[in-house]
Symmetry: C2
Subunit: 243 residues, 2 copies
Amino acid sequence: MSTKTVGILGGMGPAAGADFARLFVQACAEQLKASGAVVTDQAYPEHWLAQLPIADRSAALLAPEAAEDPFAMMCTGMDKLQALGATAVAMACNTAHAWHERLQQAYPRLQLLHIARVVAESLQQQGHRACMLLATQGTYRIGLYDEALAACGITVHLPQDAERELLMQGIYQGVKADRLNLARTCFSQVARAMRLRHGDVPLIMGCTEIPLALPGAPEVEGLPLVDPAWELARALARVAYSQ
Amino acid sequence: MSTKTVGILGGMGPAAGADFARLFVQACAEQLKASGAVVTDQAYPEHWLAQLPIADRSAALLAPEAAEDPFAMMCTGMDKLQALGATAVAMACNTAHAWHERLQQAYPRLQLLHIARVVAESLQQQGHRACMLLATQGTYRIGLYDEALAACGITVHLPQDAERELLMQGIYQGVKADRLNLARTCFSQVARAMRLRHGDVPLIMGCTEIPLALPGAPEVEGLPLVDPAWELARALARVAYSQ
């Protein structure tokens, strides 16, 4: 199978970036096996993970005048990935997709995948009509998933204000500060409350830090958890193996 | 804390490369916490993971006239990592260290870490005088760990011929072919036999595919397992945060 070189723009955060590389490798192996090809080291597409100190995305969205703009460093990563021969790039961070349109315009020769569109199309293919969304304040503010889900005819349920604060605590004081127990407590509390309100519709873990702590919690047992990073990794693998 | 850009030469195999990126991020977080610094996305050093279709290392060592030489593609990766600004590089593959000396000579400006030396120094610091080594045929043939362990005054016990075949089966038909159950069976059988012969001395999992399947097997319960990739990741983090 011929392959294309692809890139991963990571560092947002670095644990999520490394985890996305793992998911991409897994998605490639699944694709190889599904096509009947032998899985060897050399059967994987060339891929590069760029882990750069990109400024905080949520802070830049919530207080653009006070916080550092992550866009310039994102462009540094895109420049280098393009120079390395990447034809497509995925960003291992939901909130970063606030800059998706600007980045795609700045790099017209690179195919920049869009995490929410990939998720919405996957839910649609599975026949779902409603879902719940856990994400950062920045992701809610920009309505990252709203448009993509609406375009696929899927209703999205969002957490209440206090629950959003709890999610931010789990992401920043929890995963990003390497305290996974705190993160799991925060995420599972919100998931439980939303499940009581909306029932067992798919729960989108719409920040790459959430799948690092939530799965396995008893509060989400039996609930369909959607990992957008996994959907994005599968989409990137499809591009890498496309003709 | 000021940081240096570092690189990871991966693709050998890709799952091990992605796992090494995860270990490096974890090692950086531990170093940040140990130094009292706050762990944020921006506190991590810039790092790049190069996952290239590098030819099989064991095959090249065992049948150099028949197999493709991985050296040229390794150099492609080193060229690009150097161009990206890396000052130090780690290779997420034990067997690849057969080319360590040639690579280091070809790239004198890059510090190319050596996985066996890092492991030997760590065992020495912990006061160990003996260990067991699971590895590929290529790693045994080149005596990768022998010199480094001897230099630190540590005796190394190696598996018998049939056991080495079983390890190769676990690595190639198991992990590299994405069949982890087979891999675990092969690795744990060898570990059990060696443990009976040599006692509970540290077991070096000297191929990056082995830690993906062996830990957690009942045959190694209570046995000190040494993951060279983790030791290498910690060493790379120390370099990235060094002044």
